[in-house]
């Protein structure tokens, strides 16, 4: 294997030394935890989704696994914007990698406020979570299922910040390509795909009750990887149609556990990969492991860069 194989990549002008990104909601509660994940090899780290007001989230159980993946309904717990600013500032100082601030809100207008507020801590990128499935009862259908609302959210966020904006999409829609086009037209600088699939449910047969307190939860991990790869593929095809594929990066997320999974994502059109459930499966140093495996594959197959693999599964 060639030690000099370059696995760096770029997201909206930010250079990542390797293409692995900590996905939102995993280990991203505090700045010190984000820095610890960076020490374990992540090329960039994403905070847990941040909202304006403090929220406790759902009672437990909120995260369980089954033999093919994970099901979670944490319920968007957040310490609120003020506390979160301090966490991001800490991560900015100590993580040594780009910090992506994930935000959510309950109305279009509030998305503007949270974007403006979060920008004060100067994250490298803002990821807009319009796709969380776990709080529908409170927040109505997720914003991310409607192209028009998705575009409105993107526009208001862009208007309220000068930091590049990535929009995170849900796979639980008729056409993810259509949503992707809508948010790119509205000014999105990048796309993360996908958030959790489903929602799914696991029932405890001895008590005849769903285990999660929210009953249903988002499905992640290896089970959803083919869905995630297809979504990234569709989004990249849509970007090509718009002749924007060179300008808009995609963070391919969903079931990435080994280097080969990441390579699949690049070939479908991703510029980087998000890793969440993989932390459970392979440990907190999954980022270092996946980077190494990607490098190994590239050496073996003679790929000189991540960019040279991007989108090559398309005709």
């Amino acid at each position: 294997m060639d030690n000099y194989t370059d696995i760096s990549t770029e997201l909206c002008g930010m250079k990542l030394l390797n293409p692995t990104v900590l996905a939102s909601g995993i280990l991203g509660v505090s700045g010190s935890s984000l820095a610890n994940v960076a020490r374990n090899g992540a090329g960039a780290v994403t905070t847990k989704s941040i909202g304006i007001e403090q929220r406790k989230g759902h009672p437990g159980p909120v995260i369980i696994t089954y033999d093919q993946g994970m099901v979670n309904a944490v319920g968007l717990s957040t310490s609120g914007i003020k506390e979160s600013l301090a966490e991001i500032e800490y991560a900015k100082k100590h993580a040594g990698v780009p910090i992506i601030a994930s935000v959510f809100a309950s109305t279009v207008k509030e998305f503007g406020i949270v974007a403006k507020e979060i920008s004060r801590s100067n994250p490298d990128l803002i990821e807009v979570n319009i796709s969380c499935p776990n709080v529908e009862a409170e927040f109505g259908r997720p914003f991310g299922t409607d192209p028009k609302i998705s575009a409105d959210v993107t526009k208001i966020v862009k208007k309220n910040t000068r930091i590049p904006v990535i929009v995170k999409l849900s796979p639980n829609v008729g056409s993810i390509a259509q949503i992707a086009k809508a948010v790119v037209k509205a000014g999105a600088d990048g796309i993360t795909a996908i958030n959790t699939a489903g929602p799914g449910m696991v029932i405890s047969i001895e008590t005849a009750r769903p285990i999660l307190s929210n009953k249903a939860g988002g499905v992640s991990g290896p089970a959803i990887k083919p869905i995630a790869v297809r979504c990234v593929y569709d989004i990249y095809a849509a970007l090509k149609e718009m002749k924007k594929e060179d300008k808009i990066p995609i963070i391919g997320t969903g079931g990435v556990t080994y280097g080969n999974d990441a390579v699949e994502m690049f070939m479908a059109g991703a510029s980087a990969v998000g890793i969440g459930t993989g932390v459970y499966i392979r440990g907190i140093d999954v980022f270092r492991k996946v980077s190494y495996e990607v490098k190994e594959f590239m050496g073996k197959e003679n790929y000189g860069s991540i960019a040279s693999m991007r989108g090559i599964a398309h005709d």
Partner: protein, 271 residues
């Protein structure tokens, strides 16, 4: 491994002390002292608990009625069903120890009682300092005595044993009767554990402590239990940690995070 609660029915309920009940379950948990499980009461919530007893056919958890969850847990009866997942987390060192001193404060005595039994099985000399507010909060006394543990009691009000802090007893023991102690184990309020670390340093002894933080998953994913500034996970790199690591935990004995992730000042142990 699949992280789903396994349903157990409560086999026995023991009134351990005021506000404290021990729930006994049949089955092999395969845990080691210091580890914890997540207890699910369907329709209520799920919370982490240390294992307070384990043998070849049963194990036990001791619950202290402090909040909503623990109150409904303590209201459960023999035959009631609860879910248990785990065991999770790091364990106390039990090999290569000859003389051990255990310091437990309040509900922190629970994991140490399991540890004391395990150490006695390995023929380790065990001095167990139990700290409690008063006589009625003392736990496991007879169980420990019959396992051959030297029990030392400290109460805030002097209603049993020494009137004062368990850490004062520790200091004296290390200078006298337990001068050969090669390991100190502590679990309890962080203010107590901070003093234990200072004393262990002063006497040049090894020391392991068990920490507690708000937990959502228990298996290293949610990040709710991460401590500043190391960012390590109490559910995974803990709950048992050596004193050299704990000394580097900035938030130790200062604050912890609640279920929203917000920092809250430290009030004590037992969620």
């Amino acid at each position: 491994m699949t992280e789903q609660p396994k349903i157990h029915s409560i086999k026995r309920v023991i009134d351990e002390a005021k506000d404290a009940r021990t729930f006994v379950f049949y089955g092999q948990l395969d845990s080691s002292p210091g580890q914890f499980v997540n207890v699910w009461i369907p329709g209520v919530d799920e919370k982490p608990y240390s294992i307070s007893y384990q043998d070849d056919e049963k194990f036990a958890i001791t619950c202290f009625a402090v909040g909503n969850f623990s109150k409904s847990f303590n209201g459960m009866k023999e035959g009631d069903k609860i879910g248990i997942r785990g065991p999770y987390g790091t364990r106390f060192t039990t090999s290569g120890i000859r003389n051990a001193v255990l310091v437990g404060g309040g509900c922190g005595t629970a994991p140490l009682a399991f540890l004391a039994n395990e150490l006695r099985k390995r023929k380790v000399n065990v001095d167990f300092i139990m700290g409690a507010r008063s006589n009625e909060f003392l736990m496991y006394h007879e169980r420990m005595v019959s396992a051959g543990v030297n029990v030392h009691i400290a109460t805030d009000d002097g209603s049993a044993g020494f009137k004062g802090f368990s850490t004062e007893l520790l200091d004296r023991l290390l200078a006298g009767k337990a001068k050969d102690a090669d390991m100190i184990y502590a679990c309890g309020p962080e203010i107590m554990m901070k003093k234990v670390i200072d004393i262990a340093d002063r006497h040049g002894r090894r020391c392991e402590l068990s920490l507690e933080r708000y937990m959502k998953c228990g298996f290293g994913i949610c990040g709710q239990c991460c401590v500043d500034n190391l960012g390590i996970r109490v559910c995974k790199e803990g709950p048992v940690m050596g004193k050299e690591i704990v000394k580097h935990i900035f938030e130790f004995n200062k604050y912890k995070r609640d279920s929203s992730g917000k920092k809250v000042p430290f009030y004590g142990s037992c969620n």
